[in-house]
């Protein structure tokens, strides 16, 4: 199997184009919210956010949480005693106000955000790196509350959110593949032309 410039270029172009098409069609998550255990007064809770370099988004510190309903007597009676219990009833949404300090650190260790405010509030963050962004939330209020955080990429801004690093790689593959392909085709044409010219001269002689 001869892997010359033409074939290598064609393979790179194929991979680059398929990657570009995939990046253009795969939807990027618009919003994501998470919360864990309540944070005590003066305590700091650290969230890890794994994200691709999607550009400008918003990190929000929320002020509402959902609480599971308590099981009724019917639910307890119907439970088999093993595994999880089915609880009838709707979840309860609780709203509260807390004073929170938010610090966001990028994967390379740079502090992107250091702000304080009453929940809910959000801050714009430019996500330019892929990896773990650490979100430190400190409860500066006067009661123990859960502090949910969210990440949002608003769809109405008209911005197309794509993974910048993969887009860059696919452009490089496509461009380098095209260059190699052209070089390979040009070399093949020149070689054929030389052979034809030499053959004609040999015929004459």
């Amino acid at each position: 199997m001869r892997l010359n410039a033409t074939r290598l270029g064609l393979i790179l172009v194929i991979i680059g184009v398929i990657m570009l098409f995939n990046l253009w069609t795969v939807p990027v998550i618009q919003s994501y919210k998470a919360q864990f255990e309540p944070v005590d007064l003066g305590e700091t809770f650290a969230y890890g956010l794994f994200l691709a370099p999607l550009g400008l988004g918003n990190i929000g510190v929320e002020s509402d949480t959902v609480v599971a309903p308590k099981p009724s007597q019917d639910d307890i009676d119907n439970w088999s005693g093993e595994g999880s219990m089915y609880v009838s009833g709707d979840v309860i949404r609780v709203e509260y106000e807390a004073f929170v300090r938010l610090v966001v650190v990028s994967p390379s260790g740079v502090t992107l955000v250091d702000t304080e405010g009453a929940t809910p509030y959000s801050v714009p963050v430019d996500f330019t790196e892929r990896g773990e962004y650490v979100l430190y939330v400190t409860n500066l209020g006067n009661e123990t509350v859960p502090i949910p955080v969210s990440i949002k990429f608003p769809p109405e801004t008209g911005v197309v959110y794509r993974e910048a690093d993969k887009f860059f790689v696919s452009i490089i593959l496509t461009a380098s593949g095209t260059v190699l392909l052209c070089i390979g085709l040009a070399t093949t044409l020149l070689t054929k032309h030389k052979k034809t010219t030499n053959k004609s001269v040999a015929d004459v002689i």
Binding site: M1, R7, F50, L51, R130, L135
Partner: protein, 277 residues
């Protein structure tokens, strides 16, 4: 001397089998299937648990990529193996080559591994590349976990190839051999698309034995090698074979499948196969 001859033959056979546009079509097919399985990841977790969750995400990505690569494997391996043997027999090339001092043993091994080895290598390169593009913050972890797919893909492709050779040596005609080999391999691959957990929970009788099929077994073996622990398994199906058998059992099973197909074909070809009609 024979090693050098074998290498030269292998090089020629690889050049013949993987000529344009076969390699390009294979790369395109594998790239499409791989990209469909590697999705963008956005997750908020506890910072203290991040490394464990990240490792799980990489393992899951490798497993999903191999599962999606299985269909291109099967298509290309069965088609190329059937073409390689049946076309050479039909065109008389096999008879010409075997009339030279090249042994049947070497001829069979060269033809067999000229299809299997490039497919294993291509699958590994594409898996590492596309999983690495998402998780390049830990390149060594990606490389380490992607190595686990090498034995799985090798055994799986040996089985596919063995079936392709069986069909080619029985049918001895190019197009019917290609179609039959493709259908046979596709039929054996199909159980991997069944959601085993759901089937087990619905009480489907054969669901417990799906993991013992060649390709499904290969995927379960890979998951166990990677250390993926299935979550949320209900108590009533926790004693299913897929969850209780260790990785070594699946390794032995895959080697068994390869041996019962490839070794008899090898012996048949070197001792009994009539190269003249």
């Amino acid at each position: 001397m024979s090693f050098r001859v074998g290498l030269a033959l292998l090089k020629t056979e690889i050049g013949k089998v993987w000529g344009r546009p076969i390699l390009e079509i294979t790369v395109a097919l594998m790239a499409v299937m791989t990209l469909m399985s590697v999705q963008p990841i956005t997750e908020i977790v506890r910072h203290s648990e991040f490394l464990d969750i990240f490792r799980s995400a990489v393992m899951g990505s490798v497993s999903a990529t191999v599962a999606s690569l299985m269909l291109p494997w099967i298509i290309m391996c069965s088609v190329l193996m059937a073409l390689s043997f049946a076309r050479d027999y039909e065109s008389g090339l096999m008879q010409s080559i075997l009339s030279t001092p090249i042994s049947r043993k070497m001829f069979f091994m060269v033809k067999f591994f000229a299809v299997v080895l490039p497919l294993v290598l291509l699958s590994w390169v594409l898996t590492t590349f596309f999983v690495g593009l998402t998780f390049y913050s830990s390149p060594w972890l990606v490389l380490q976990l992607s190595f686990y797919m090498l034995p799985v893909s090798f055994l799986s492709l040996m089985f596919c190839g063995g079936l392709g050779v069986l069909v080619a040596l029985v049918v001895r005609r190019t197009i019917p051999a290609v179609l039959t080999s493709l259908l046979a391999n596709f039929f054996i691959w199909y159980p991997t698309t069944i959601d085993t957990k759901r089937a087990l929970m619905e009480g489907v009788g054969y669901a417990n034995y799906l993991c013992l099929t060649p390709h499904d077994g290969a995927l379960v073996f890979l998951d166990k090698l990677l250390g993926i622990v299935p979550k949320g398994i209900p108590l009533e199906i926790a004693d299913a074979l897929e969850y209780t058998l260790p990785a070594s059992s699946f390794a032995v099973l895959l080697v068994f499948y390869v041996c019962i197909l490839v070794i008899p074909m090898f012996v048949y070809f070197i001792r009994r196969f009539e190269i003249c009609d």
